[in-house]
C-alpha cells in the first residue's frame, strides 16, 4: 500500500521523467498511477488538477490561455465525476432490485407449481410463459380419489408482482377445499367469495374450471369470465368453441355459476388458454384465435406437450413477436 501511496504523491516526478525521456517505461508509470488513483478513490478531476499543478511548477512561464484551458477542463471533469457516480449508484440499485425480483419470481414458481397428472388414456400438455418476470396467469391440476382430473386456468387482471401475489392466494384457497369430487360450479362460487372479500378494487380474476371424469369421459366445466377454450371433435375434424358464460371472480358477492357438461370422444382434445395467447402482437397485427387453432391442428397427432410447445414456438418465430400478456395454453387429449 505504501508504494501506491508513494505513486500518487509523485505525479510531478513521473511527468517530468516522461517529458525528458518519452520512453515506454515512463509511460507505463501512467498506467500504474491510474490504478493507484482508483484504489485511493482519487477522482479524474483531481488527477487533472495534479497534472496542472505539476505543469505550472515545471514550466513557470506557461501561457495564461493554457492555464485557463485547464480550469475549464477541471470544471468539466468535476461535473462528469458527479454524474458518473450517480449513474453508477442507479446501476447498483437496479441490479439489487433485479436480484430481488428474480428471487420473487423463483419463489412464485415454487409456490404455484403444479404437477401434470399422469393418466393412462388422457394425455396432458401445459405451457405458461410470463410476459414480464412474474406470471399473472395460473393453471392448476388436481386429482380426486377416483383419479378424476380437476383443472383450473386463470388470469389476474392487472399484471406484474401484485397479480402474482394474488394468484398465490387463489391457489391456497383452492387447496383448502375438501378433496372429494368438487364440481366446477361449486369451486367458482367458493372462490368468488374469497376474491370478493380480499381484493382491492381494480383487481379481478377470470377462471375456467373443468372436471374430467376419467371413467365416463364426461367433461364438466364452468367459467368465471374466462376466455372460452375449444374442443377438437375428432368425428368432424373441427374445433368448436366451448360454450359457457359467467361473471368474473370478485365483482359480485353472491354470483351463481352455470355448469355445463360435454362428452369427450376418443381423439378429442380440450384446449384451454388465456388471452395472452391471442393478445400477443406480431408487429401491428394481433394473432387471431383461428391462427392458433390452425397451428394446433397442424400438430394434433403429436403428444399434448409437443402441441403446446409448438404453438409457443410458432408465435415466437413470428416477426417482431412480443408477448403483451402472460401466455398459458393447456391441452387435454383423450387417446383411448
Amino acid at each position: 500500500m505504501s508504494s501506491t501511496r508513494q505513486n500518487i504523491n509523485n505525479y510531478k516526478e513521473l511527468l517530468e521523467q516522461y517529458i525528458n525521456t518519452m520512453d515506454e517505461a515512463s509511460l507505463y508509470q501512467a498506467e500504474q498511477y491510474s490504478k493507484a488513483s482508483i484504489q485511493h478513490n482519487v477522482s479524474p478531476d483531481k488527477i487533472i488538477e495534479e497534472h496542472y499543478k505539476a505543469l505550472v511548477e515545471l514550466f513557470p512561464n506557461l501561457d495564461e490561455r493554457v492555464k485557463a484551458s485547464f480550469q475549464f477542463l477541471i470544471q468539466t471533469m468535476i461535473s462528469y465525476s458527479v454524474n458518473y457516480q450517480q449513474t453508477e449508484e442507479l446501476r447498483e440499485k437496479q441490479l439489487e432490485l433485479k436480484t430481488e425480483i428474480d428471487v420473487a419470481a423463483n419463489m412464485q414458481n415454487t409456490l404455484l407449481s403444479t404437477d401434470v397428472p399422469k393418466v393412462e388414456n388422457i394425455d396432458i400438455g401445459a405451457k405458461s410463459v410470463p410476459a414480464k418476470l412474474m406470471n399473472g396467469d395460473y393453471y392448476h391440476f388436481v386429482q380426486d380419489d377416483e383419479g378424476n382430473i380437476g383443472t383450473a386456468i386463470a388470469d389476474v387482471i392487472g399484471k406484474g408482482i401484485p397479480a402474482a401475489f394474488f394468484m398465490s392466494m387463489i391457489k391456497y384457497a383452492m387447496e383448502s377445499f375438501p378433496e372429494d369430487r368438487m364440481y366446477p360450479k361449486i369451486i367458482l362460487e367458493l372462490l368468488n367469495r374469497v376474491v370478493e372479500r380480499n381484493v382491492e378494487s381494480g383487481m379481478f380474476v377470470t377462471m375456467f374450471y373443468g372436471l374430467y371424469d376419467i371413467n365416463k369421459h364426461e367433461f364438466y366445466y364452468a367459467t368465471a369470465g374466462h376466455e372460452p377454450g375449444f374442443i377438437y371433435r375428432s368425428q368432424i375434424q373441427a374445433f368448436e368453441e366451448i360454450d359457457a358464460k359467467g361473471l368474473l371472480l370478485g365483482v359480485k358477492k353472491d354470483t351463481k355459476y352455470n355448469q355445463y357438461v360435454t362428452h369427450i370422444q376418443q381423439g378429442d382434445m380440450i384446449v384451454l388458454l388465456t388471452d395472452g395467447v391471442t393478445e400477443c402482437r406480431s408487429g401491428d397485427r394481433f394473432i387471431e384465435r383461428e391462427e392458433v387453432l390452425e397451428v394446433i391442428d397442424q400438430y394434433k397427432e403429436q403428444s399434448a406437450q409437443n402441441i403446446v410447445d409448438n404453438v409457443y414456438k410458432y408465435l415466437e418465430r413470428l416477426q417482431d413477436f412480443k408477448l403483451r400478456d402472460d401466455f398459458t395454453l393447456l391441452i387435454l387429449k383423450r387417446n383411448s
Binding site: 392487472g158 383487481m203 369470465g225 361473471l247 368474473l248 365483482v251 400478456d325
Partner: protein, 109 residues
C-alpha cells in the same frame, strides 16, 4: 398509441368521449377521470367508446372499479357505442349482464 379523453356535460349527464386505446398505460388516467365523477352522489355518466378500437383487461378493471364505486354511492354510468371487439370482452367476462351497455357497433375498425 394514446388515449384521448374529452369530457363535457349534455342535458345534465356527464359525457366522457374516448378515442384511442385503453391499456395498462392509458387506463390510470381514465380511472381517475371516471371515479372522480362517480364519487359524487347521484351523478350520471355516459362513456362513449365509439373511437376505442382496442381495450385490454386493464381497461375492464377501470369499469369494474367504476361499477363498485357507483354501487356504493348513488351514481350511475353507462357505456355506449362499443365496437365489436371491445364488446366481446364485456361479453366473455359476463360484465354485460351487470353493466349498462348500449348501442354496440357492428364491424369495428
Amino acid at each position: 398509441m394514446n388515449l384521448h379523453i374529452e369530457g363535457y356535460q349534455e342535458d345534465g349527464v356527464y359525457v366522457l368521449k374516448l378515442s384511442g386505446e385503453v391499456d395498462a398505460y392509458t387506463a390510470p388516467e381514465l380511472k381517475e377521470r371516471l371515479l372522480d365523477l362517480l364519487n359524487e352522489d347521484g351523478t350520471e355518466v355516459k362513456i362513449d367508446l365509439e373511437k376505442v378500437n382496442y381495450m385490454d383487461s386493464t381497461g375492464l378493471g377501470v369499469f369494474i372499479s367504476g361499477l363498485k364505486t357507483s354501487n356504493e354511492l348513488n351514481s350511475t354510468f353507462k357505456l355506449v357505442n362499443l365496437q365489436d371487439n371491445v364488446y366481446r370482452l364485456f361479453n366473455i367476462t359476463g360484465l354485460n349482464e351487470v353493466m349498462d351497455i348500449e348501442n354496440t357497433i357492428r364491424g369495428g375498425m
